[in-house]
């Protein structure tokens, strides 16, 4: 019994790591321009496809493909901001939200036209062999850490957790110890004042989109390793990550990480309890947290107007 719970705990942590990586993208953008960037789930999806294309079509080794996918996604995120959101900075907040939804629909269908609706998988023979868990010819499960009670933890999932933790540390260093991080914090606090102090707010926002999208790309490639890649893959994890960002207090990076892990754990234990309501448990936790702490776990009060 406890072995099963322990395994679910591990399942939840790995999922939570992915959610955290995506949630950071939501929360960073929100912190600066108070926009729920609905297209972020699609950026994550494009990240997965970029990785796939780089590996299968251009035959680039995985370790180079991953940073390249991050770079491409960062460019995509910046392009979206430049083309779609920047003209709407002074417009009512909801118009930017609808624009984000429009971009999300467009990107999803663009992906469907490029790569068809068929699920695709990362080819196992061009990945580092350490990430290819599963049966070998002898019928043994390879590349996994055995857990007590007969469960397994693939090396790949360990890597997902490690890279999530590493990126979060780097991100915190970036935000608190670099010039651009300082500028981001200044813009988040008061964009007009920051502008007056000589910070180019538009450039800071672009940088924010770039960082958030790059993290989304990492999540996309990581998910691509264990699951499949489809044009609609951004929806489920995107919504869950958004819930994670709000649960942690939208605008707070620490909140996004904690929220991501909480949602992941709630989902895993929820599935164990009643699988039909799997993700619903995550939402129940989220609702309860918000009702008790109306600004999320680590959040500050947000603007009142919708």
């Amino acid at each position: 019994m406890w072995a099963q719970y322990f395994e679910q705990f591990i399942n939840g942590l790995v999922q939570g790591g992915i959610y955290a990586l995506i949630a950071v993208g939501y929360t960073m953008v929100y912190g600066i321009i108070q926009l729920i960037n609905f297209a972020h789930g699609e950026i994550y999806m494009f990240g997965a496809y970029f990785g796939l294309i780089l590996i299968t079509v251009f035959h680039i080794p995985f370790w180079i493909a991953l940073p390249l996918a991050m770079l491409l996604c960062a460019l995509l995120g910046m392009l979206i901001d430049y083309v779609a959101y920047r003209p709407l900075r002074t417009a009512p907040r909801l118009s930017a939200l609808i624009t984000a939804i429009g971009i999300s629909i467009a990107l999803q269908n663009l992906a469907r036209m490029f790569w068809t609706a068929e699920p695709q998988v990362y080819p196992t023979d061009s990945l580092p062999s350490i990430f290819v868990s599963g049966l070998n010819d002898m019928g043994e499960v390879i590349n996994v850490i055995p857990l007590p009670g007969g469960g397994t933890l693939p090396y790949r999932d360990v890597f997902i957790l490690l890279i999530a933790v590493a990126l979060m540390i780097i991100l915190n260093l970036l935000i608190y110890y670099t010039r651009i991080g300082k500028a981001m914090r200044a813009c988040a606090q008061n964009a007009v004042a920051a502008n007056l102090m000589g910070i180019n707010a538009n450039r800071v926002i672009l940088a924010t989109f770039a960082v958030g999208s790059a993290l989304g790309a990492v999540a996309g490639v990581m998910v691509g390793l264990s699951e499949n890649v489809t044009p609609t893959m951004g929806y489920y994890k995107g919504v869950a990550a958004f819930a994670a960002a709000v649960l942690g207090g939208i605008g707070s990076v620490t909140g996004a990480i904690v929220g991501g892990l909480l949602i992941g754990l709630a989902e895993a234990f929820g599935a164990d309890f009643h699988s039909g309501y799997r993700i619903a448990f995550a939402y129940i936790i989220m609702i309860l947290v918000i009702l008790i702490r109306p600004t999320g776990l680590f959040g500050k009060a947000t603007s009142k107007r919708a």
Binding site: R112, E118, P119, L135, V141, V144, K237, D272
Partner: protein, 407 residues
């Protein structure tokens, strides 16, 4: 004032976008006929409604290919009584709201004589009411929900339903895979997956197969570890996946990774090559699936169709392509026998239904590549057996032992 203008504009757009002097009024019309008026008058038009986009697009694609092949063969053989067969493809995206609009569009088209479709049971049910009112045959080559044909006398299908399939799977596991005593069900939480699960569980309880777990997953789930962990804790001998290929592939892959050693068994929703590529051939090895049809080596008709299919589309046909191929063939046969150029549209549509409804004994049945098709009083095909395939060396092959006599 602006609102008036936009309102009129919208109305105008709806109205006039349809009103252009062209014969192609619908999605992806594949007209093989020329614009010559004489020839255009001679065409006979039917619709194929399928999920060409959306979650079950892979099925829709094979349905389209199957229908195109039959159309080509009919037209190359001189058409139906000298008239060319035209097929209009309509995309319902596997969604009910789209399916009703598609149905309304078809029912209102003054040229379309019959419909082959829809694929998803929920879409067939949604369109049903409209086809029923308009009096047009809805011939599904893929809906396996139990009640689909009971509700309307205009609905037919040329394959078994889930009540039969679920029962069959339980019996096959009990009779053939005798070492299996405990089964866990992992089902897609929608009408197909859940309906099939219910039928399976009912029969399993009857024949003494132990169901140790029953877990659900959603269409957009891609990580099944949590459910697999709780299934694994129950140590089932077999896991029955009641769902579609995309998710099933991932389930098998992730289960093998998590050290699940149970036998996998799937239903016809898994019968697609994508299942194998997603799961990886090693993980999928030994998975049993049930399907309405297999391309057997000793069936010359199926062999010939498969060869033509490969020649025309460069991919091997699957079950759904074959069933659609036969469905189009049956409609074409009905048109050949009943179509009267002098008669009204409604009469011609009705004649097709009368013709199909009269095929109610094996003697009158239609012999297609998927076997003999004839209907009971609901429009269900009751005689067709279920076949069992197994994954061997990364390919679906017919299982050694079939249970064809089970009805």
């Amino acid at each position: 004032m602006r609102m008036w203008f936009v309102g009129v504009l919208i109305l105008g757009l709806i109205t006039f976008s349809g009103c252009q002097p062209s014969d192609k009024t619908a999605d992806n019309a594949t007209d093989n006929t020329t614009d010559d008026t004489q020839e255009a008058q001679q065409e006979l038009k039917i619709a194929v409604a399928a999920p060409l986009t959306g979650g079950s697009a892979a099925f829709g694609e094979m349905i389209r290919k199957g229908a195109e092949l039959k159309q080509k063969e009919i037209n190359e053989a001189g058409g139906i009584n000298g008239r060319m067969l035209t097929i209009v493809f309509k995309d319902d995206a596997g969604k009910e709201s789209e399916a009703t609009l598609v149905a309304e569009g078809i029912a209102n088209d003054k040229k379309i004589l019959a419909v082959v479709g829809h694929f998803n049971s929920r879409c067939t049910l949604s369109g049903q009411e409209i086809y029923d009112r308009a009096g047009i045959v809805e011939f599904s080559p893929g809906s396996t929900n139990i009640t689909v044909c009971e509700l309307s006398k205009w609905t037919f299908r040329n394959l078994y339903h889930d009540g039969f399939q679920g029962k069959f799977i339980a019996q096959y596991i009990d009779d053939v895979l005798t070492e299996i005593e405990t089964v866990a069900v992992f089902f897609h939480n929608d009408d197909y997956g859940r309906g099939l699960r219910d039928a399976f569980v009912a029969e399993a309880e009857k024949i003494g197969l132990m169901i140790v777990a029953s877990e659900a997953y959603e269409e957009d789930t891609t990580n099944f570890k949590a459910q697999l962990t709780s299934i694994k804790a129950k140590k089932p001998d077999a896991i029955f996946i009641s769902g579609l290929y995309a998710q099933a592939g991932l389930i098998v892959k992730q289960a093998r990774e998590a050290g699940v050693t149970s036998q996998f068994y799937g239903a016809d929703g898994i019968d697609n090559e994508v299942f194998l590529t997603t799961a990886g051939s090693r993980a999928a090895e030994g998975t049993y699936i049930t399907t309405p049809f297999v391309f057997g080596e000793d069936d010359p008709k199926a062999k010939e169709m498969a060869a033509n299919f490969v020649e025309h589309h460069n991919v091997p046909p699957d079950t759904w392509a074959a069933l659609t191929y036969d469905a189009v063939g049956m409609i074409a046969e009905a048109l050949e026998k009943t179509y009267n150029p002098e008669a009204e549209l409604a009469e011609n549509r009705k004649a097709i239904r009368e013709h199909l409804a009269a095929i109610d004994t094996p003697e009158e049945g239609y012999m297609g590549v998927t076997g003999l098709t004839y209907f009971d009083h609901n429009g269900d095909t009751v005689n067709k057996p279920a076949y069992v395939k197994v994954v061997k060396d990364g390919k679906f092959v017919p299982a050694e032992k079939q249970l064809l006599d089970k009805k």
